[in-house]
Subunit: 136 residues, 2 copies
DNA sequence: AATAAATGTAATAATATTTGTTACATTTAA
DNA sequence: TTAAATGTAACAAATATTATTACATTTATT
């Protein structure tokens, strides 16, 4: 993960949480994050798929939070955007004659999974609510 | 981290640990990992800087482990190649008028650091030795 | 009905990161 | 002297990430 998707998602969710009862436009959200509105709309569609956000099309449309802040953990947000293991990728060395090269990826699979789990454990008990409260 | 550097480093170190008393060439190591020898030499220089590996130039040269396997933790290896936070990067939204946009990066800095620490904690008590022993 | 303002999304472009390759100077044992 | 190794710079190729353009569609308002 060396992209900005986690930062973008939590930013969007924080804005929605702090502006309940309003429909926030992707343009306005994009202005706060200082990124392109199309990126915001793409991420909003991810949030919609998970049922965290509801969006209204057309004039006076926009997005709003569709779930309580305490019901989204930071682990949930992380999982929504995670596209690699914490320890990175493996080399493709399964075909080598070397006994280490032949077996190492099986060992790394396990190590990588266990490390990812450590991150989930660190984030599962932290809620979007507690993150948003920092801005009061 | 969506690169293969951790996998490459631990592969190199595993080979060196299992072939003590020999000078392994970067070409031979590269064959086991199935990557380019120049990449191996670059990573070996990282390992040398940390004093984990000693290299002999010239004919009959190569690399060997210069430290006990139990004295290198997987956290050490991770830190040697880590180039981003577990949760990724931040957007550059410090200049926006929005109160969330203005302050969120300070909050994310802390969250990102704490998450990275959780990974270190998961890896600090695991040694290269215990990883290498899996291949016996 | 017309208009304005919003989302949805495909297609493409621009950047940045990561990995691979070539080339060659240097080192050292035989 | 030669062969075989490292060290490293420079460049190329491949991927991944982010930004942009364009436009169809939707919907409230007038």
């Amino acid at each position: 993960m060396s992209n900005t998707r986690f930062a973008t998602l939590i930013h969007i969710l924080t804005l929605l949480a702090r502006n309940k009862g309003q429909w926030l436009s992707s343009d306005w959200i994009a202005g706060s994050i200082d990124i392109n509105p199309v990126i915001v709309r793409k991420e909003l569609s991810v949030l919609q798929e998970r049922g965290w956000v509801i969006t209204k099309k057309g004039k006076e449309g926009g997005s709003a939070l569709n779930i309580s802040e305490e019901d989204i953990s930071l682990a949930d947000i992380y999982k929504a955007v995670k596209n690699s293991n914490v320890l990175g990728r493996k080399n493709q060395c399964g075909g080598t004659a070397c006994p280490v090269g032949k077996d190492i990826n099986a060992k790394l699979d396990r190590l990588f999974s266990e490390t990812d789990e450590a991150v989930y454990s660190a984030l599962i008990h932290r809620s979007l609510k507690s993150f948003v409260e920092q801005f009061d």
